[in-house]
């Protein structure tokens, strides 16, 4: 009976997405430094810093080397090294450093009519139900999974082969979520069938269909547990409307990324519209992990764009319920209603940029009975000889049990710095051309709960070189 229901619902979702004719998905926004727009993915422990690699690509025949060191008062300094190159059909990167969460290697090579990747893998199939989910029910796609994502995540390590053509072929073997997995996927004309197997005999099937206006996927475990999801985007006048729906068994877990399985049932709608200088964005989502464990989110944001890239954004949002399956009583505290409002302005004359942001979240309307309040100012000044100085100052208050993350732009990564309690954080960063490369030096002073600051520092030097063809 479960299989029959799954087939019907899945078929309906896939047919719905196949019939939808809309615009391809717009590029994903990347959060600005010191922004609160990003949250760590569900598998990241709450209250811990999270680091992720930026997916900036090298030009052909290029080499990049980088050396970094960072430390904190009272802790041993951490050194890191990285090398990347991209040549004719081959690219590779190696990162090394004690305690560096991004340490590891990846090699991409074109061979046997397709692309091979060995090392760190972050694949995405279809909607990601089996491989590459966003985990958050309101997200249309993960920011760190699959090709074209703005960040390179790490779902596992292994070997991955892809061949595109009339018949698409994908094969993968590796270790994901402390499991040895092997996957095979075959597709044509946007449709694909995949099989993922784990040592021990666990199996998951994936059937997916992708069209310019939308996509859908149904995933079934050997036990009969299933999940189906479809998403579509359409243009109506000046507005771009999107919708996605998910259904399935509560016990379904992705073998590769169980922590990103997300809720069993979810519906989300979104709208982006431009009217003159204003961009309007709206989002609504409902989800349920199991009866009694559900959540909802609604948000509205207006962005006004002025001359010289000046912009003003205002937004309101309401959240209720849980975002992930609670692991402790602490998570339950955050399940109550939260009503938030924020305002952000950024702009300034050439050579000087100022960004101001204030965000308040409370239990009641108009963000009263505050649980999280953040005020931030960030200045970036261009100096002579290619130098730049950036100063950011943030004042924050987070009630016990509330999570607060500030995004920091590292040389090669994005860091979501976890903050707790009440305090202030000042970050100074100097960028300068040194030795044919780019030097970044940062100092961070953060005080919380009246304790003395423990300075955190970072040094990074990187250089890119490009091979030039020598004339005969």
């Amino acid at each position: 009976m479960k299989l029959w229901t799954a087939s019907v619902v899945g078929a309906l979702l896939i047919v719905f997405s196949a019939l939808a004719h809309g615009d391809p998905e717009p590029p994903k926004a990347v959060a600005a430094p010191d922004s609160l727009a990003l949250e760590p993915p569900p598998e990241a422990p709450e209250g811990s810093d999270f680091e992720i690699e930026r997916a900036d690509s090298l030009a052909d025949a290029s080499l990049e080397i980088g050396f970094g060191a960072s430390g904190r008062s009272g802790e041993r300094p951490r050194a890191s090294r990285r090398v990347r190159f991209r040549g004719d059909g081959v690219s590779a990167q190696v990162r090394e450093g004690a305690g560096d969460p991004l340490a590891g290697a990846a090699l991409d090579a074109r061979a046997a009519g397709g692309m091979w990747r060995a090392g760190r893998l972050a694949p995405r199939w279809g909607r990601g139900l089996v491989l590459g989910s966003a985990g958050s029910p309101w997200s249309r796609a993960a920011l760190d999974r699959g090709d074209g994502a703005p960040y390179r995540g790490r779902a596992g390590d292994g070997l991955w082969y892809r061949r595109a053509g009339p018949i698409d072929l994908e094969a993968l073997a590796g270790r994901f979520a402390r499991r040895d997995l092997a996957c095979l996927r075959v597709g044509t004309a946007g449709a694909g069938v995949g099989l993922l197997g784990a040592r021990g005999g666990d199996l998951e099937w994936s059937v997916a269909l992708e069209r310019p206006g939308g996509d859908g996927e149904i995933a079934i475990e050997r036990s009969g547990l299933w999940r189906a999801e479809a998403a579509t985007r359409r243009t109506v006048g000046r507005a771009s409307l999107s919708a996605q729906a998910r259904g399935g068994s509560e016990g379904f877990r992705s073998l590769a990324e169980p922590e990103r399985s997300g809720p069993a049932r979810a519906v989300a709608v979104g709208s982006d519209a431009r009217a003159g200088i204003a961009d309007l964005r709206a989002l609504g989502a409902l989800w349920q992990f199991r009866p009694g464990l559900a959540g909802e989110r609604g948000a509205l944001e207006v962005s006004l764009h002025f001359a010289q890239h000046d912009a003003l954004a205002l937004g309101v949002e309401e959240q209720r319920g849980v975002r992930r399956i609670p692991s402790s009583a602490r998570s339950t505290v955050a399940s109550a209603a939260r009503r938030g409002a924020w305002a952000e302005w950024q702009g300034g004359p050439p050579g000087l940029r100022l960004a101001l942001r204030h965000e308040a979240w409370g239990q009641d309307r108009l963000a009263r009975h505050a649980v999280r309040v953040v005020s931030a100012a960030r200045v970036e000044a261009q100096g002579p000889f290619g130098t730049a100085l950036e100063v950011a100052h943030t004042v924050f208050h987070a009630r016990r049990g509330e999570s607060l993350y500030l995004a920091e732009a590292g040389a090669d990564r994005l860091i979501l710095r976890a903050l707790a309690g009440s305090g202030e954080r000042t970050r100074l960063e100097l960028k300068a051309p040194v030795g044919g490369g780019r030097l970044r030096a940062a100092l961070e002073l953060a005080t919380a709960e009246g304790k003395s600051p423990r300075p955190r520092w970072m040094l990074d030097w990187s250089r890119r070189a490009r091979a030039t063809a020598r004339s005969p």
């Binding site: 702009g347 004359p349 050439p350 000087l352 101001l356 005020s375 200045v379 004042v395 009440s422 002073l445």
Partner: protein, 272 residues
């Protein structure tokens, strides 16, 4: 030679007032210049908030503040600033209170200002006047605070400011905790409006909000200030004659009483 001791009652009053002052978030302390909203072209504001003025012409300003009707806790300060091309610098010295409960502050600021925006770093070193000061990391009764500010023109007469005067503190705690101040001012011909929000230092506690409205008629400007926590208001007046500007503001606090700020500034007259 021995210092003359103040009566115990006066000392107790001063100590109580000092404690209350610590709990009040304030937008200024050692160089609290009375200036209409939208104007920060004074050396004292440069030193106090790290907001450099656009004109590079040298200016000198003398400021006196009587805090909450307590002449024993008056502040006297002198500040001067100058600029060369887009570089701006300011220095000043301030004295608050008497020999029993007072302090001396020396401040310095360095920054840049040009059409469209400016910013500066400021530092203030403070030393208690108490002959037996409390030991601190920088020496008995000594304290240091470092911060900065920035302003940019956002067009349509709107100017945005951000000032964090105490990003870094060391040694003896400053008499007033000053958090991040963000605000905007809007100038419409002779009328200007300023809205600011000042976070509580360290993020703990309520933020303070301020709304100011100014009306200019030639060389004379009148302005009103309204603040919350607790609700209170101030009335200010400034007048300019050639190179001399005189300004004053009176603020009424429902608990602590009246604060009077006056300033005298000498600067190059603006071009006609």
């Amino acid at each position: 030679m021995s210092a003359r001791l103040a009566p115990p009652g006066t000392l107790a009053t001063l100590a109580t007032l000092a404690f209350l002052l610590r709990s009040v978030s304030a937008s200024a302390q050692d160089f609290a210049s009375p200036a209409p909203p939208g104007s920060f072209a004074t050396p004292a504001i440069f030193l106090e908030h790290g907001l450099p003025a656009l004109p590079a012409a040298p200016a000198v300003e003398a400021v006196a503040t009587s805090w909450y009707g307590m002449p024993e806790l008056a502040t006297r300060a002198v500040a001067l600033c100058a600029g060369w091309r887009s570089a701006r610098a300011a220095a000043g010295i301030s004295r608050t209170g008497g020999p029993e409960l007072g302090w001396t502050t020396a401040a310095f600021a360095l920054g840049v200002a040009a059409q469209g925006g400016g910013g500066a770093l400021r530092a203030a070193a403070r030393r208690d006047a108490d002959p037996a000061p409390i030991d601190a990391a920088l020496g008995p009764g000594a304290g240091l605070e470092v911060g900065g500010g920035v302003w940019v023109e956002a067009g349509a007469g709107i100017t945005l400011i951000a000032s964090a005067p105490q990003m870094f503190t060391r040694g003896g705690a400053p008499p007033l905790g000053r958090g991040l101040e963000i605000g905007a001012s809007w100038a419409m011909d002779d009328l200007s409006l300023r809205l600011t929000r000042t976070s509580a230092r360290g993020g703990a506690g309520a933020a303070q909000h301020e709304a100011d409205l100014a009306l200019s008629a030639g060389a004379i400007t009148v302005w009103l200030e309204a603040r919350d926590l607790p609700a209170r208001g101030a009335l200010g007046l400034s007048a300019r004659a050639r190179a001399v500007t005189v300004a004053g503001a009176i603020e009424s606090h429902p608990v602590l009483g009246q604060t009077v700020r006056i300033a005298l500034m000498l600067s190059r007259p603006p071009a006609p």
